[in-house]
Amino acid sequence: MITYELTEQQKQIKELTHWFAENEIRPISLEADRLGKVPDEWLDKVNKMGIQLNTSSFGGDNANKKLAKKERQGNRLGVIATEEIAWGDPAIALSLPGAGLGGPPIQSSGTAEQKQRFLSIFTKDEPRWGAYALTEPEAGSDASAVQTTAQKVDGGYVLNGQKIFITNGGRASWVVVFATLDKSLGRAGQRAFVVEKGMKGFSCTKLVKKMGLRANETAELLFEDCFIPDENLLGGEELYQTAASKPSGFQVAMKTFDSTRPIVAAMAIGIARAAYEYSIDLVRKEYPKIGRLYTIAAELLAEAEQNIAAARYLTWEAAWKADIGVANAKEAAMSKAFAGQMALEVCVKCLEILGPIGLDGHLVEKLYRDVKVFDIFEGTNQIQHLVIARRQYAPYGVRV
């Protein structure tokens, strides 16, 4: 049946994460932005509390076979919780310890041994991160044009190349890196590797400064004759042999996007909601109760509230499809495309409501700077449109 109601468990998760966002994240939000980092002691504290950014419930692997009889809800819980955490602060949300965006490819494509080895390190003793490295200086939206090479050698592979815009890339214990065995093979030549911190030839060359999300680390990574043992080829040789006719490495990358886009959409929704709630509170307290300004505010806020709800329902639908094991690429792209753009527009509306006062020490200007990238990373708005259009035209046999 159709329902938009949260279960008791979902409500509890929402309330718990909201409490954490409100009491632990929001109070340090502006300070973390000013510092350009999340304080280490804070990260250590929340890690001991067991709070992590976990996006790896997506992926549809076999890990949940035990739950086959019971409907999975990890994806829905993921987007519900993520919205609340991002409401607290998106840069801090992205900085939370955990496998992060590197989790889904390992969860969906890794061998049992790899899952155990890489996903079990996120313990309470100290904060650790995972990362996902696809983008390169010459390969952004066109992920099939990856230039980083992987040369097969005895016992493993040698990686050479550069990755940019990698969230938590410098501090990560391991990074899922996409490279090509043979550029002439295109997508079919791609493979995914797990590169561990400290491996010879692997380095973080730069932490970039950004418009927003300043508290979150964005790294450039370099691979110089970096040897990766066979056991770190994601999924092992078997994965690629069994799917010899398919571009498996590329598929791993794309499948990850189908999984993580709803999470990113949920973050954008959290940001939009934070800006909306901040602004409606100000209108209630400080605006005149009649007149043109009041009417304008009513209109702007109604638009904002509606778009936030619309984005949330698209995101829930994408997560629901993932939970019930149905292809969700179109819905995931819809959620990301709409939420990313919507969240910026909501922040713009909220800045309009605040007027010039919004420039000085108010949360909304920070959210405005933060939110822009949500229409860019994990696939730009234009790429999401392409994904949606491809699915829309698929029944007619036209590939756009």
Binding site: M1, E299, L301, A302, E305, W316, L386, Q392, V398
Partner: protein
């Protein structure tokens, strides 16, 4: 748990409705528009399947479905053609009154006539209409003035009037058209869309409504109106979603087949991205309608606001999606050999009939700022 899967029963309904929409409704849409009336055979067929009585209570020989089921069925039917659906006779928007007052003694006296003679009832909402007055006179009320265009007015046998008298008393009134010599219908000059929907303006000239024809008054009337309006608004919004789905599918198929500059025009991103936007808007309007329907079914305090939100978005989206369909078909979209020009006209007429967009938006915003979860105000 959040879920978007219709029940098996709903799937059955949707399947039948969609089939009839494609096989029976769409093929006759142009003819219906030209004749400005829905063919009696088609009406009979839809009636037999129960599609004219989704909202009607069981003791009025209706199906009395939950709103969440109704909106899905109406979406499916309107996928055929909104203009045809809006021209269907019967209880129309007034069905909700019967749903909410199934055992009303006044309505009971008309039961045989309405059910067996297949009479049509129009719903006239005069709240906020300054051009028509209701004045208390001699144990009854006098209605004067000319209404705005009302759907089904040109062939309705009865009218349910919602409004307030000059003293501010909320009223729900029953008017039998044939019994009122001073009541006329101005048929008008409608060209934009929904041409088979029986649009007409009522001209009231000292039309007397006796006390015994008052279905509800005062607080009872207020509560009734507050329950009728959101249901009507939502059912209309659902029809708009069905029209959007039709326009989206039609434009997708057309652009997948149409070639220019040596390739399918779908391969140009100016085209395919517009299709993607249409798909998103359609899905969004769909979600907001479903979510509001569930809230109304559950009688939630927030339902009124959710309905306004859904109707506003459906209005905005149906204009965008139908306009986009015309745009993507280019010159073909503008001519009557293709259905999309009609759909764009019907969409705009529908939006004009069922609530001004800005007013809905501001009303919703005021609710949000006020922090209330109120229903729909009767002004």
């Amino acid at each position: 748990m959040t879920s978007f899967l219709p029940t098996d029963e709903e799937k059955e309904f949707i399947h039948v409705a969609k089939d009839i929409a494609i096989d029976k409704i769409r093929p006759v849409a142009r003819e219906v528009e030209k004749n400005q009336v829905v063919d009696a055979f088609l009406v009979g067929e839809l009636d037999e399947l129960g599609f004219l009585a989704l909202e009607t209570p069981e003791n009025w020989e209706g199906i009395e479905l939950p709103l969440i089921t109704q909106v899905q069925i109406l979406q499916a039917l309107s996928y055929g053609d909104l203009g045809v659906i809006q021209g269907l006779p019967g209880l129309g928007d007034a069905a909700t009154l019967f749903r909410l007052c199934p055992d009303h003694p006044l309505l009971a006296t008309y039961k045989d006539d309405i059910i067996h003679s297949k009479k049509t009832v129009a719903l006239l909402d005069l709240t906020g209409n300054a051009t028509v007055t209701i004045e208390n006179k001699n144990d009854g009320w006098l209605i004067n003035g000319i209404t705005q265009p009302v759907r089904l007015a040109s062939f309705a046998d009865y009218i349910v009037v919602l409004g307030r008298d000059l003293d501010g008393l909320p009223l729900v009134m029953w008017v039998e058209v044939a019994e009122q010599q001073n009541l006329k219908v101005e048929f008008g000059d409608y060209r934009l869309g929904l041409l088979a929907s029986g649009l007409g303006k009522y001209e009231f000239e000292n039309v007397y409504v006796a006390e015994e024809l008052i279905l509800a008054s005062d607080e009872e009337a207020l509560q009734l109106i507050e329950k009728i309006r959101p249901r009507v608004q939502l059912l209309q919004a659902a029809k708009e979603v069905g029209l959007m789905e039709a326009a989206l599918d039609y434009a997708t198929e057309y652009t997948a087949g149409r070639k220019a500059f040596g390739q399918e025009i779908a391969k140009f991103q100016g085209v395919s991205f517009r299709i993607a936007d249409m798909a998103m808007e359609t899905r969004i309007a769909n979600h907001l309608v479903w979510q509001a329907a569930l809230e109304v079914d559950e009688d939630k305090a927030s339902a009124g606001g959710s309905v306004i939100r859904a109707l506003y978005r459906a209005h905005r989206s149906v204009r965008y999606v139908t306009d986009s369909a015309v745009q993507l078909l280019g010159g073909h979209g503008y001519v009557q050999e293709y259905p999309v020009e009609k759909w764009m006209r019907d969409a705009q007429a529908q939006v004009s009939l069922y609530g001004r967009e800005k007013e809905l938006l501001i009303q919703r915003g005021e609710q949000l700022i006020g922090g209330g979860t109120i229903g729909v105000n009767v002004r």
